[in-house]
Symmetry: C2
Subunit: 352 residues, 2 copies
């Protein structure tokens, strides 16, 4: 943790974020949902998806790229599927509604898939997947994103760092939660290597000519992040774009705009959500017993040299969440200044 970090209770940040959204015309309920998504990420240590996004969200709400009070509309549906049009409203509002719909349909039929077009940045994917866990189901959430990765062999952005979130009930253990982007690394880690004058693994990034580089400066100079695991990550990113943007009739590939481009225009992001009802297959109690067993099998695996502990997906984030719920969320000096400015600007009570 940065020594200059201020520790802020989660609830203060939640109320502050929601108040900012309300000031910009978002309903109290929608403001709360969106704020909860950001604070969820901060609590779990995924600060890249937390209140660091508050300023750009408010900027887009003001500029018109996010519509303040547009609710998703059902375009078509069947017993186990639905297509929603988010009307360029908040991605979080559409996401929570889409997952709610998927859960309801899966309750009736066993499994359901709900897609959303004309959506926006929806924050951490795990947030929606966990909604299903709260209802005793397995949940999935995926989104496309502005094109920032090249297909294997290419050197221009054609696919987003498209993430998928999967969450599974785990009985006595916290839910298993995998929330992963299809890029090898976040840009933040490359910027950090620049600051520390360190080399980066050649599998992380391409330079501006499309050549893998171990120099973080070459990567940062109009380079691209590589898909994780080479062509397999490329394939996964492409399939996420097909299951989201292509299938739902939304933006895909280069048609999706980044959160930070053209604040007044729609981003044309698309998302897809799915839920599987566990008791269509076996009782939830039996399922949870089996998940506990597979977790135990991972934890008890003999360790490799230098390994202190074996984790299962979501475990580190859960422990961070327990700690930050008790102790608060660290906000560094730069972000603190940004949020304080926002408070002043929007005439909202500062969380500090």
């Amino acid at each position: 943790m940065n020594s200059a970090a201020t520790i802020v209770p989660a609830d203060s940040l939640l109320k502050f974020s929601a108040a900012c959204f309300e000031r910009l015309g978002v309903s109290a309920l929608d403001a709360r949902i969106t704020a909860e998504n950001l604070i969820f990420a901060n609590l779990r240590g995924v600060d890249s998806h937390g209140v660091i996004r508050l300023k750009i969200y408010t900027d887009r709400l003001r500029a018109g790229g996010f519509k303040a009070n547009l609710h998703p509309r059902i375009v078509s549906e069947e017993a186990s599927s639905a297509l929603l049009d988010a009307g360029h409203g908040l991605g979080q509002v559409a996401g929570v509604e889409a997952m709610r719909l998927a859960i309801g349909k899966a309750q009736a039929t066993g499994v359901a898939v709900v897609g959303v077009k004309n959506s926006n940045h929806f924050g951490a994917a795990a947030f929606y997947a966990i909604q299903a866990v709260e209802r005793g189901m397995i949940g999935f959430a995926a989104t496309n994103a502005g094109a920032s990765m090249a297909p294997t062999g290419g050197r221009e952005g054609r696919l987003g760092n498209n993430p998928v979130g999967i969450a599974v009930p785990a009985g006595k253990y916290p839910p298993l939660v995998l929330d992963m982007a299809t890029g090898a690394v976040a840009w933040g880690k490359i910027f950090l290597a620049q600051q520390k004058h360190e080399k980066i693994p050649a599998s992380w990034a391409l330079d501006k000519h499309g050549v893998p580089t171990d120099d973080p400066n070459a990567a940062a100079d109009h380079g691209l992040i590589q898909p994780f695991g080479g062509y397999k990550g490329y394939g996964l990113s492409l399939f996420i774009d097909i299951l989201t943007g292509v299938l739902v009739g939304g933006g895909f590939s280069t048609r999706v705009k980044s959160l930070y481009q053209k604040l007044e225009s729609p981003s044309d992001v698309a998302q897809t959500f799915a839920a599987i009802k566990i008791d269509s297959f076996l009782s939830r109690a039996e399922f949870c017993r089996r998940v506990e067993e597979i977790i135990d099998l991972m934890h008890s695996c003999p360790r490799a040299p230098g390994s202190d502990r074996i984790y299962v997906p979501g475990e580190i984030e859960h422990e961070t969440e327990q700690r930050r719920k008790a102790e608060g969320i660290p906000i560094n000096a730069t972000l603190r200044e940004e949020l304080a400015g926002l408070a002043q600007d929007l005439h909202v009570l500062s969380p500090f």
Copy 2:
């Protein structure tokens, strides 16, 4: 291609494989389905899943680990889900039946998931995913496998090199097909590096102490394949095991036996299949137009130095299939001898 390879027409290998299965008590239809799955892999250049498996399949049929005439039985079902018990019959027979069921249910409701327990090695996952494409749907097939990979930080096998196959209709182009295991590499590539006295990337394997190694001999000496892309590949492999073995009430983790262990005993493999009906979301024509467009966007991406061409998933396999359908399938000397021995042993007409 090995200079000692014999080129055999696909149809000869198909008839030969089916005849071998029939000799061991498999019905003509089931023998044909299983043989088609093996030849499908050979045609597409995935020789690791082709007739190289014929001998072990016949060995297991004789020893009892594969039951010759057991058909999958529906244990439970809902409108969009079903659980099948394969009764330790042929994995291919259960797989085709499960995917058929998933397609039928998805036709009625939009999407469906069908799981299979007490199954066996089912060959190439793409084979089943493509069944859905033939019906205008997106298909998924996943299986678990004998524990051969460690969780990140571990040094003993706790998860299979669990693959997933995804297939998508692509209009004027051949279907997009991603069929990937969650391991960094196939053992075959490590054996090849041994023969050539070459180093391997440190991300491929662990030595017997659980330490990443660039020495293929150290990897082959009781080492393990690493998951692809580090902890992300570990997470995907774990979730495939949960969506297959754990969810369907089948074997998972160390409970799943390898194809080559205990030929007389069940392998306790589990599989899960899913289908998404495209026209629940948008017309198939519109979907295909959009898939063609995203394929064009990949193909037309400016190329990195040293890259001759950009492929989409399944493209290389499709081209190999076209060629091998016309020219035949190359069978190397070792495999030729094995198949000729099998012909003699089972009193089946040799394909050579």
